[in-house]
Protein backbone atom coordinates (compact mmCIF):
# COMPACT_ATOMS: atom_id res chain seq x y z
CA UNK A 1 0.00 0.00 0.00
CA UNK A 2 2.09 2.85 -1.29
CA UNK A 3 0.86 6.26 -2.44
CA UNK A 4 0.77 7.09 -6.13
CA UNK A 5 3.50 9.43 -7.27
CA UNK A 6 3.16 13.13 -6.54
CA UNK A 7 5.38 16.17 -6.46
CA UNK A 8 6.20 17.96 -3.26
CA UNK A 9 6.81 21.58 -2.50
CA UNK A 10 7.49 23.31 0.74
CA UNK A 11 5.71 26.58 1.23
CA UNK A 12 7.83 29.34 2.78
CA UNK A 13 4.94 31.56 3.73
CA UNK A 14 1.20 31.79 3.51
CA UNK A 15 1.52 33.88 0.37
CA UNK A 16 3.87 31.35 -1.14
CA UNK A 17 1.42 28.56 -0.31
CA UNK A 18 -1.41 30.50 -1.93
CA UNK A 19 0.77 31.07 -4.96
CA UNK A 20 1.65 27.39 -5.21
CA UNK A 21 -2.01 26.46 -4.91
CA UNK A 22 -2.73 28.86 -7.74
CA UNK A 23 -0.21 27.15 -9.97
CA UNK A 24 -1.75 23.73 -9.61
CA UNK A 25 -5.51 24.29 -9.68
CA UNK A 26 -7.54 21.60 -7.99
CA UNK A 27 -4.80 19.08 -8.22
CA UNK A 28 -2.76 20.28 -5.27
CA UNK A 29 -3.28 19.35 -1.65
CA UNK A 30 -2.02 21.11 1.41
CA UNK A 31 -0.06 18.90 3.75
CA UNK A 32 -0.22 19.79 7.43
CA UNK A 33 0.17 17.04 10.03
CA UNK A 34 -0.58 14.44 7.39
CA UNK A 35 -2.39 12.30 9.93
CA UNK A 36 -5.48 12.12 7.77
CA UNK A 37 -4.09 13.01 4.38
CA UNK A 38 -1.20 10.55 4.32
CA UNK A 39 -3.45 7.65 5.32
CA UNK A 40 -5.76 8.39 2.42
CA UNK A 41 -2.82 8.80 0.03
CA UNK A 42 -1.33 5.50 1.16
CA UNK A 43 -4.64 3.85 0.41
CA UNK A 44 -4.77 5.65 -2.94
CA UNK A 45 -8.13 7.13 -2.06
CA UNK A 46 -6.97 10.45 -3.43
CA UNK A 47 -4.41 11.22 -6.03
CA UNK A 48 -3.09 14.81 -5.99
CA UNK A 49 -0.35 15.81 -8.41
CA UNK A 50 1.44 17.85 -5.78
CA UNK A 51 1.54 18.22 -2.02
CA UNK A 52 2.22 21.64 -0.66
CA UNK A 53 3.79 21.25 2.74
CA UNK A 54 2.81 24.10 5.02
CA UNK A 55 4.69 22.83 8.07
CA UNK A 56 7.57 25.24 7.57
CA UNK A 57 5.46 28.39 7.54
CA UNK A 58 6.57 30.53 10.43
CA UNK A 59 4.11 31.99 12.87
CA UNK A 60 1.30 29.52 12.36
CA UNK A 61 2.07 27.49 15.44
CA UNK A 62 1.25 30.14 17.97
CA UNK A 63 -1.30 30.09 20.75
CA UNK A 64 -2.05 33.52 22.11
CA UNK A 65 -4.65 35.03 24.40
CA UNK A 66 -5.38 38.63 23.53
CA UNK A 67 -8.32 41.00 23.17
CA UNK A 68 -10.67 38.61 25.01
CA UNK A 69 -9.90 36.00 22.42
CA UNK A 70 -7.73 32.96 22.14
CA UNK A 71 -5.93 32.69 18.83
CA UNK A 72 -4.75 29.30 17.74
CA UNK A 73 -2.56 29.03 14.67
CA UNK A 74 -3.41 26.38 12.10
CA UNK A 75 -0.12 24.57 12.65
CA UNK A 76 -0.52 24.20 16.38
CA UNK A 77 -0.16 20.48 17.01
CA UNK A 78 -2.79 18.66 19.00
CA UNK A 79 -0.21 17.82 21.65
CA UNK A 80 0.80 21.47 21.93
CA UNK A 81 -2.80 22.52 22.43
CA UNK A 82 -3.36 19.71 24.90
CA UNK A 83 -0.56 21.00 27.11
CA UNK A 84 -1.10 24.71 26.61
CA UNK A 85 -1.88 26.62 29.82
CA UNK A 86 -3.52 29.35 27.72
CA UNK A 87 -5.94 26.89 26.21
CA UNK A 88 -6.63 25.23 29.53
CA UNK A 89 -7.47 28.60 30.99
CA UNK A 90 -9.08 30.52 28.21
CA UNK A 91 -10.50 27.78 25.98
CA UNK A 92 -11.30 24.99 28.44
CA UNK A 93 -13.67 23.28 26.01
CA UNK A 94 -10.80 22.61 23.63
CA UNK A 95 -8.69 21.37 26.51
CA UNK A 96 -11.46 18.94 27.41
CA UNK A 97 -11.70 17.67 23.86
CA UNK A 98 -8.01 17.17 23.14
CA UNK A 99 -7.38 13.88 24.98
CA UNK A 100 -10.19 12.28 23.00
CA UNK A 101 -8.49 12.91 19.69
CA UNK A 102 -6.54 9.89 18.49
CA UNK A 103 -3.39 8.78 20.32
CA UNK A 104 -0.22 10.45 21.59
CA UNK A 105 1.90 9.86 18.50
CA UNK A 106 -0.85 11.22 16.27
CA UNK A 107 -1.47 14.20 18.49
CA UNK A 108 2.24 14.99 18.34
CA UNK A 109 1.92 15.55 14.62
CA UNK A 110 -1.71 16.34 13.75
CA UNK A 111 -2.64 20.01 13.61
CA UNK A 112 -5.62 22.01 14.75
CA UNK A 113 -5.90 23.53 11.28
CA UNK A 114 -5.78 20.13 9.63
CA UNK A 115 -8.53 18.76 11.83
CA UNK A 116 -10.77 21.71 11.07
CA UNK A 117 -10.02 21.89 7.36
CA UNK A 118 -10.51 18.15 7.01
CA UNK A 119 -13.97 18.54 8.59
CA UNK A 120 -14.60 14.95 9.50
CA UNK A 121 -18.20 14.91 10.72
CA UNK A 122 -17.19 12.72 13.68
CA UNK A 123 -14.25 14.89 14.71
CA UNK A 124 -14.16 16.77 17.98
CA UNK A 125 -12.62 20.11 17.06
CA UNK A 126 -15.12 21.29 14.46
CA UNK A 127 -17.90 20.83 17.01
CA UNK A 128 -15.86 22.71 19.61
CA UNK A 129 -15.30 25.61 17.25
CA UNK A 130 -19.01 25.86 16.54
CA UNK A 131 -19.90 25.49 20.22
CA UNK A 132 -17.52 28.34 21.07
CA UNK A 133 -18.87 30.46 18.23
CA UNK A 134 -15.33 30.88 17.03
CA UNK A 135 -14.04 32.19 13.76
CA UNK A 136 -11.78 30.78 11.10
CA UNK A 137 -9.09 33.05 9.67
CA UNK A 138 -8.44 32.27 6.07
CA UNK A 139 -5.70 33.35 3.69
CA UNK A 140 -6.29 33.35 -0.04
CA UNK A 141 -5.47 35.05 -3.32
CA UNK A 142 -7.70 37.97 -2.31
CA UNK A 143 -5.95 38.36 1.03
CA UNK A 144 -7.35 37.47 4.40
CA UNK A 145 -10.92 36.85 5.45
CA UNK A 146 -12.71 35.50 8.46
CA UNK A 147 -15.64 33.10 8.57
CA UNK A 148 -17.88 32.30 11.50
CA UNK A 149 -17.60 28.69 12.59
CA UNK A 150 -21.24 28.07 11.78
CA UNK A 151 -20.59 29.04 8.18
CA UNK A 152 -17.24 27.30 7.90
CA UNK A 153 -18.46 23.69 8.03
CA UNK A 154 -20.50 23.03 4.93
CA UNK A 155 -20.90 19.29 4.88
CA UNK A 156 -19.10 15.99 4.96
CA UNK A 157 -15.38 16.83 4.56
CA UNK A 158 -16.50 20.16 3.12
CA UNK A 159 -15.69 23.65 4.33
CA UNK A 160 -15.96 27.25 3.20
CA UNK A 161 -12.32 27.11 2.07
CA UNK A 162 -11.92 27.85 -1.61
CA UNK A 163 -9.51 25.84 -3.76
CA UNK A 164 -6.74 28.39 -3.29
CA UNK A 165 -7.42 29.17 0.34
CA UNK A 166 -5.65 28.15 3.49
CA UNK A 167 -6.89 28.06 7.01
CA UNK A 168 -4.41 30.24 8.89
CA UNK A 169 -5.86 29.90 12.34
CA UNK A 170 -8.90 30.21 14.52
CA UNK A 171 -10.08 32.57 17.17
CA UNK A 172 -12.47 31.74 19.98
CA UNK A 173 -13.78 34.05 22.67
CA UNK A 174 -11.78 33.68 25.86
CA UNK A 175 -13.65 32.10 28.72
CA UNK A 176 -14.90 34.41 31.42
CA UNK A 177 -16.01 33.71 34.95
CA UNK A 178 -19.47 33.07 33.57
CA UNK A 179 -18.42 30.63 30.90
CA UNK A 180 -19.58 27.07 31.30
CA UNK A 181 -18.47 24.29 28.99
CA UNK A 182 -19.18 20.63 28.63
CA UNK A 183 -17.69 17.87 26.55
CA UNK A 184 -18.50 14.22 26.27
CA UNK A 185 -18.28 11.57 23.61
CA UNK A 186 -18.87 7.87 23.18
CA UNK A 187 -16.20 6.01 21.26
CA UNK A 188 -15.78 2.25 21.26
CA UNK A 189 -12.07 2.50 21.88
CA UNK A 190 -9.95 5.23 23.36
CA UNK A 191 -8.94 7.64 20.60
CA UNK A 192 -11.39 6.40 18.02
CA UNK A 193 -13.67 8.80 16.23
CA UNK A 194 -16.82 9.03 18.29
CA UNK A 195 -20.10 7.26 17.63
CA UNK A 196 -21.69 10.42 18.98
CA UNK A 197 -20.19 13.35 20.79
CA UNK A 198 -21.35 16.63 22.22
CA UNK A 199 -19.48 19.89 22.77
CA UNK A 200 -21.32 22.59 24.67
CA UNK A 201 -20.92 26.05 26.03
CA UNK A 202 -23.15 28.44 27.91
CA UNK A 203 -23.13 31.54 30.02
CA UNK A 204 -24.13 31.25 33.62
CA UNK A 205 -25.73 33.99 35.64
CA UNK A 206 -26.16 32.53 39.05
CA UNK A 207 -28.00 29.30 38.40
CA UNK A 208 -29.43 30.46 35.09
CA UNK A 209 -27.89 29.47 31.81
CA UNK A 210 -28.09 31.52 28.66
CA UNK A 211 -26.44 31.46 25.26
CA UNK A 212 -26.51 27.69 25.41
CA UNK A 213 -24.81 26.07 22.43
CA UNK A 214 -25.06 22.32 22.05
CA UNK A 215 -23.10 20.97 19.13
CA UNK A 216 -23.19 17.31 18.23
CA UNK A 217 -20.67 15.45 16.14
CA UNK A 218 -20.97 12.05 14.54
CA UNK A 219 -24.67 12.63 13.90
CA UNK A 220 -24.69 14.00 10.39
CA UNK A 221 -22.55 15.50 7.68
CA UNK A 222 -21.17 18.32 9.83
CA UNK A 223 -21.24 19.58 13.42
CA UNK A 224 -24.92 19.95 14.26
CA UNK A 225 -26.47 22.39 16.69
CA UNK A 226 -29.42 21.17 18.70
CA UNK A 227 -31.33 24.42 18.88
CA UNK A 228 -34.57 23.21 20.44
CA UNK A 229 -32.62 21.36 23.09
CA UNK A 230 -30.59 24.52 23.73
CA UNK A 231 -33.77 26.44 24.49
CA UNK A 232 -34.97 23.70 26.81
CA UNK A 233 -31.65 23.55 28.65
CA UNK A 234 -31.73 27.31 29.12
CA UNK A 235 -35.14 26.77 30.69
CA UNK A 236 -33.63 24.06 32.91
CA UNK A 237 -35.96 21.46 31.36
CA UNK A 238 -33.66 18.52 30.74
CA UNK A 239 -36.37 16.03 29.84
CA UNK A 240 -37.78 18.44 27.29
CA UNK A 241 -34.29 19.00 25.96
CA UNK A 242 -33.75 15.29 25.43
CA UNK A 243 -37.16 14.97 23.80
CA UNK A 244 -36.38 17.90 21.55
CA UNK A 245 -33.35 16.15 20.10
CA UNK A 246 -35.62 14.16 17.82
CA UNK A 247 -36.35 17.42 15.98
CA UNK A 248 -32.84 18.78 16.22
CA UNK A 249 -30.85 15.92 14.85
CA UNK A 250 -31.53 13.04 12.51
CA UNK A 251 -28.41 10.91 12.65
CA UNK A 252 -27.85 8.47 9.82
CA UNK A 253 -26.66 5.00 10.85
CA UNK A 254 -23.11 3.94 10.18
CA UNK A 255 -20.92 0.90 10.78
CA UNK A 256 -20.88 1.55 14.51
CA UNK A 257 -24.49 2.21 15.33
CA UNK A 258 -27.91 2.72 13.82
CA UNK A 259 -29.40 6.20 13.63
CA UNK A 260 -31.89 5.25 16.31
CA UNK A 261 -29.13 4.29 18.71
CA UNK A 262 -27.21 7.45 17.93
CA UNK A 263 -30.26 9.52 18.75
CA UNK A 264 -30.64 7.66 22.03
CA UNK A 265 -26.96 8.15 22.86
CA UNK A 266 -27.26 11.84 22.01
CA UNK A 267 -29.87 12.03 24.75
CA UNK A 268 -27.61 10.26 27.23
CA UNK A 269 -24.80 12.68 26.42
CA UNK A 270 -27.14 15.61 26.83
CA UNK A 271 -27.98 14.57 30.38
CA UNK A 272 -24.29 14.25 31.18
CA UNK A 273 -23.47 17.59 29.63
CA UNK A 274 -26.34 19.30 31.41
CA UNK A 275 -24.71 18.28 34.68
CA UNK A 276 -21.35 19.63 33.54
CA UNK A 277 -22.92 22.93 32.50
CA UNK A 278 -24.60 23.26 35.86
CA UNK A 279 -21.27 23.10 37.67
CA UNK A 280 -18.84 26.00 37.71
CA UNK A 281 -15.44 24.90 36.47
CA UNK A 282 -12.82 24.66 39.19
Amino acid sequence: MKPAAFAYAKARSLDHAVELLGQHDDDAKLLAGGQSLMASLNMRLSNPSILIDINGIAGLNVIAARNDQVEIGALVRHAQAERSPDIARHAPLIALAMPHIAHPAIRNRGTIGGSLAYADPAAELPACLVALDGEADIAGPQGKRSVKAADFFKGMFETALGPQEILAGIRVPAATGQTRVGFSELARRHGDYAIVGLAASARATGKRLSDVRLVYFGVGTAPTRARNAETAIAADAIDDAVAALAQDIDPPGDLQASGEVKLHLAGVLLRRIAKQLAEPRP
Binding site: Y8, Q35, M38, L51, N55, H103, A105, R109, R189, G191
Partner: protein, 165 residues
Amino acid sequence: MSGQIHDITLTVNGQEISETVAARVTIADFLRDNLGLTGTRLGCEHGVCGTCTVRIDGVITRGCLVLAVQCAGTRVETIEGVSDTGEIADLQDAFRRRNALQCGFCTPGMLLTAQELLTRAKDSGNVPSREAIREHLSGNYCRCTGYHAIVDAVEAVAQARAGEK
Protein backbone atom coordinates in the same frame (compact mmCIF):
# COMPACT_ATOMS: atom_id res chain seq x y z
CA MET B 1 12.25 22.73 -4.37
CA SER B 2 9.26 21.24 -6.11
CA GLY B 3 9.17 17.97 -7.94
CA GLN B 4 8.85 14.25 -7.57
CA ILE B 5 12.50 13.68 -6.67
CA HIS B 6 14.32 15.44 -3.86
CA ASP B 7 17.75 15.48 -2.30
CA ILE B 8 17.51 15.42 1.45
CA THR B 9 19.92 15.59 4.34
CA LEU B 10 18.86 14.50 7.77
CA THR B 11 20.28 12.97 10.92
CA VAL B 12 19.35 9.37 11.55
CA ASN B 13 20.39 7.90 14.88
CA GLY B 14 23.03 10.57 15.21
CA GLN B 15 24.51 10.11 11.78
CA GLU B 16 24.11 12.60 8.96
CA ILE B 17 22.57 11.05 5.88
CA SER B 18 22.18 12.52 2.41
CA GLU B 19 19.97 10.69 -0.05
CA THR B 20 17.80 11.23 -3.06
CA VAL B 21 14.19 10.22 -2.55
CA ALA B 22 10.91 10.24 -4.37
CA ALA B 23 8.41 12.58 -2.76
CA ARG B 24 5.97 9.75 -2.15
CA VAL B 25 8.33 7.72 0.01
CA THR B 26 7.34 7.72 3.69
CA ILE B 27 9.99 8.02 6.35
CA ALA B 28 9.18 4.47 7.44
CA ASP B 29 9.86 3.11 3.94
CA PHE B 30 12.94 5.30 3.67
CA LEU B 31 14.37 3.93 6.91
CA ARG B 32 13.56 0.36 5.93
CA ASP B 33 14.41 0.35 2.25
CA ASN B 34 17.11 2.98 1.90
CA LEU B 35 18.86 2.58 5.23
CA GLY B 36 18.03 -1.04 6.11
CA LEU B 37 16.71 0.04 9.51
CA THR B 38 13.97 -2.56 9.53
CA GLY B 39 13.18 -2.23 13.23
CA THR B 40 10.65 0.37 12.12
CA ARG B 41 7.86 -1.89 10.94
CA LEU B 42 4.75 -1.58 8.87
CA GLY B 43 1.62 -3.12 10.27
CA CYS B 44 -1.07 -1.10 8.57
CA GLU B 45 0.29 1.89 6.67
CA HIS B 46 -2.75 3.91 7.61
CA GLY B 47 -1.89 5.24 11.00
CA VAL B 48 -3.67 2.83 13.32
CA CYS B 49 -1.27 0.15 14.53
CA GLY B 50 1.73 2.15 15.72
CA THR B 51 4.36 -0.38 14.62
CA CYS B 52 6.03 2.31 12.49
CA THR B 53 6.65 4.63 15.43
CA VAL B 54 9.86 6.68 15.17
CA ARG B 55 11.05 9.82 16.90
CA ILE B 56 11.32 12.93 14.81
CA ASP B 57 13.00 15.82 16.56
CA GLY B 58 12.45 14.06 19.83
CA VAL B 59 8.75 13.27 19.59
CA ILE B 60 7.15 9.98 18.63
CA THR B 61 5.43 9.99 15.29
CA ARG B 62 3.79 7.55 12.91
CA GLY B 63 6.49 6.75 10.37
CA CYS B 64 3.90 5.71 7.80
CA LEU B 65 2.23 9.12 7.85
CA VAL B 66 5.27 11.34 7.37
CA LEU B 67 7.19 11.70 4.13
CA ALA B 68 10.92 11.30 3.98
CA VAL B 69 11.24 14.68 2.24
CA GLN B 70 9.52 16.26 5.19
CA CYS B 71 12.28 14.98 7.42
CA ALA B 72 14.99 16.96 5.67
CA GLY B 73 16.87 18.82 8.36
CA THR B 74 15.33 16.83 11.20
CA ARG B 75 16.71 14.41 13.73
CA VAL B 76 15.18 10.97 13.28
CA GLU B 77 15.64 8.21 15.83
CA THR B 78 14.66 4.59 15.44
CA ILE B 79 14.59 1.58 17.72
CA GLU B 80 18.09 0.66 16.54
CA GLY B 81 19.35 4.09 17.56
CA VAL B 82 17.86 4.14 21.03
CA SER B 83 19.09 0.59 21.55
CA ASP B 84 22.65 1.50 20.69
CA THR B 85 22.73 4.56 22.91
CA GLY B 86 21.42 2.54 25.83
CA GLU B 87 18.67 5.06 26.43
CA ILE B 88 16.02 2.41 26.96
CA ALA B 89 18.16 -0.47 28.13
CA ASP B 90 16.18 -0.78 31.37
CA LEU B 91 12.89 -0.83 29.50
CA GLN B 92 14.14 -3.42 27.04
CA ASP B 93 15.36 -5.54 29.90
CA ALA B 94 12.01 -5.26 31.64
CA PHE B 95 10.23 -6.34 28.47
CA ARG B 96 12.58 -9.29 28.19
CA ARG B 97 12.24 -10.43 31.76
CA ARG B 98 8.49 -9.90 31.86
CA ASN B 99 8.01 -11.57 28.45
CA ALA B 100 6.16 -8.44 27.39
CA LEU B 101 6.52 -9.43 23.77
CA GLN B 102 5.76 -12.53 21.83
CA CYS B 103 6.28 -12.16 18.09
CA GLY B 104 8.04 -8.85 18.74
CA PHE B 105 6.52 -7.07 15.77
CA CYS B 106 4.85 -4.38 17.86
CA THR B 107 7.74 -4.09 20.28
CA PRO B 108 9.84 -1.29 18.75
CA GLY B 109 6.76 0.93 18.54
CA MET B 110 5.67 -0.01 22.04
CA LEU B 111 9.08 0.76 23.48
CA LEU B 112 9.39 4.15 21.84
CA THR B 113 5.85 5.05 22.83
CA ALA B 114 6.35 3.90 26.40
CA GLN B 115 9.62 5.78 26.63
CA GLU B 116 7.85 9.04 25.85
CA LEU B 117 5.41 8.45 28.70
CA LEU B 118 8.19 7.45 31.07
CA THR B 119 10.27 10.48 30.23
CA ARG B 120 7.36 12.81 30.72
CA ALA B 121 6.39 11.09 33.95
CA LYS B 122 9.91 11.39 35.25
CA ASP B 123 10.02 15.08 34.35
CA SER B 124 6.81 15.72 36.23
CA GLY B 125 7.78 13.48 39.12
CA ASN B 126 4.85 11.10 38.65
CA VAL B 127 4.62 7.36 38.40
CA PRO B 128 1.89 6.72 35.84
CA SER B 129 -1.00 4.49 36.89
CA ARG B 130 -1.75 1.32 34.98
CA GLU B 131 -4.69 3.13 33.47
CA ALA B 132 -2.48 5.99 32.30
CA ILE B 133 -0.07 3.51 30.79
CA ARG B 134 -2.87 1.76 28.95
CA GLU B 135 -4.17 5.07 27.71
CA HIS B 136 -0.78 6.20 26.48
CA LEU B 137 -0.30 2.92 24.64
CA SER B 138 -3.84 2.98 23.26
CA GLY B 139 -2.62 3.63 19.72
CA ASN B 140 -0.21 0.69 19.61
CA TYR B 141 -1.65 -2.60 18.50
CA CYS B 142 -0.35 -5.86 19.90
CA ARG B 143 -2.10 -9.02 18.82
CA CYS B 144 0.00 -11.39 20.87
CA THR B 145 0.29 -10.32 24.47
CA GLY B 146 -3.10 -9.00 25.49
CA TYR B 147 -1.16 -5.95 26.79
CA HIS B 148 -1.10 -6.96 30.47
CA ALA B 149 2.58 -7.94 30.46
CA ILE B 150 3.48 -4.76 28.57
CA VAL B 151 1.72 -2.66 31.20
CA ASP B 152 3.55 -4.61 33.91
CA ALA B 153 6.92 -3.96 32.32
CA VAL B 154 6.31 -0.26 31.76
CA GLU B 155 4.95 0.14 35.27
CA ALA B 156 7.98 -1.59 36.77
CA VAL B 157 10.35 0.71 34.90
CA ALA B 158 8.37 3.78 35.88
CA GLN B 159 8.68 2.76 39.51
CA ALA B 160 12.34 1.92 39.18
CA ARG B 161 13.15 5.20 37.48
CA ALA B 162 11.28 7.06 40.16
CA GLY B 163 13.53 5.32 42.65
CA GLU B 164 10.64 3.36 44.11
CA LYS B 165 12.12 0.04 43.06
